[in-house]
Symmetry: C2
Subunit: 192 residues, 2 copies
């Protein structure tokens, strides 16, 4: 038996990728080593380099998949602000442990090479996706500010662990966030 795995390149590659998503999201690019990732995938460390070229190559693909299969934005424009606020508060709750692409970004952005990969993927996936929802010129920068708000909220609540956000009534914070997203999102014809 030993590890009971038949030799299958695609399966092994997928296992490494999945372990990479989890590890990089939890500990950041500099916070985890290839040996640790490989062990979580049940393989030897060198397979990371065989299948992804390098640690940086694996990270690039991790960012790619993490930012692609997002289940975050979208929905009815009428309740969009409320929905985003509710989802954000729920997924950043202290109990929830969530492999959010925002966490991946926040915990890896300190490394310049990782930051460059993140920037390129954000522009290609997230901001492009926003451009579909809000094709007008004004919407672009407002969506970017919304992104900043979401990222900052995730940072303070889950990475730092701010007591001001964790010891307050979630409904209160959610209402505040809803008001902000109403200002930012194109739905309710907010005139500046």
């Amino acid at each position: 038996m030993s590890s009971a795995h038949r030799r299958d390149a695609a399966t092994t590659r997928a296992a490494i990728l999945r372990a990479g998503v989890e590890a990089f999201t939890r500990f950041g690019f500099d916070g985890v080593g290839v040996r640790e990732i490989a062990q979580a995938a049940g393989v030897s460390a060198m397979l990371v380099n065989r299948y992804f070229g390098s640690k940086e190559g694996l990270f690039a693909e991790v960012v790619e998949v993490s930012m692609t299969d997002r289940t975050v934005l979208g929905g009815d424009p009428a309740t969009l602000a409320r929905d985003i606020a509710a989802t954000l508060v729920r997924r950043t709750s202290p109990a929830a442990d969530d492999l959010s692409p925002f966490l991946l970004m926040l915990r890896s952005a300190a490394n310049p090479r990782a930051a460059e990969i993140l920037r390129e993927n954000i522009e290609r996936h997230v901001e492009a996706h926003v451009h579909e929802v809000a094709p007008d010129t004004r919407g672009t920068d407002r969506a970017a500010v919304a992104l900043a708000l979401i990222a900052g909220f995730w940072l303070l609540r889950k990475v730092i662990g701010s007591s001001a956000l964790n010891e307050t009534d979630e409904k209160t914070v959610e209402a505040t966030l809803t008001r902000l997203f109403e200002v930012l999102l194109p739905g309710p014809a907010s005139r500046g």
Copy 2:
């Protein structure tokens, strides 16, 4: 001559601390080594441990001073939202290189020990300072959300380098931010 420095413990300690602020803000806790910091201060690496106990000890003091002598918040409540937005946009401009405590936080938060130090200092300095300005219960969580917005904006614009925020007219972004801070800050009697 050699280094032309007289032996002065206080001066040397201050030089290491200053080099630490710069290095940790630019590269984050994990992104810089004690040898590099010591070289920037013009001393040997072991002096860091002599004066601050360890790298982590130096970081704790760096966070302390960086979050103490802030020149960010404050001012006339009537124009507070506009002032904060203007300052934020100006200091995150691509040309400006700024040793902001927000950058220190963003680039070091991935490390759990650094995150703990940051959390403790934020609660002790920033949130306490906010509590003076807005002593009412409702203001606390709104100020925390404002903090999240500022941090996220700094992240996307300066750490990631988002093109959506850097290629947009600064006045447009500044207007958007002003509207958000008007919602968040206690000044204009915003009713929810």
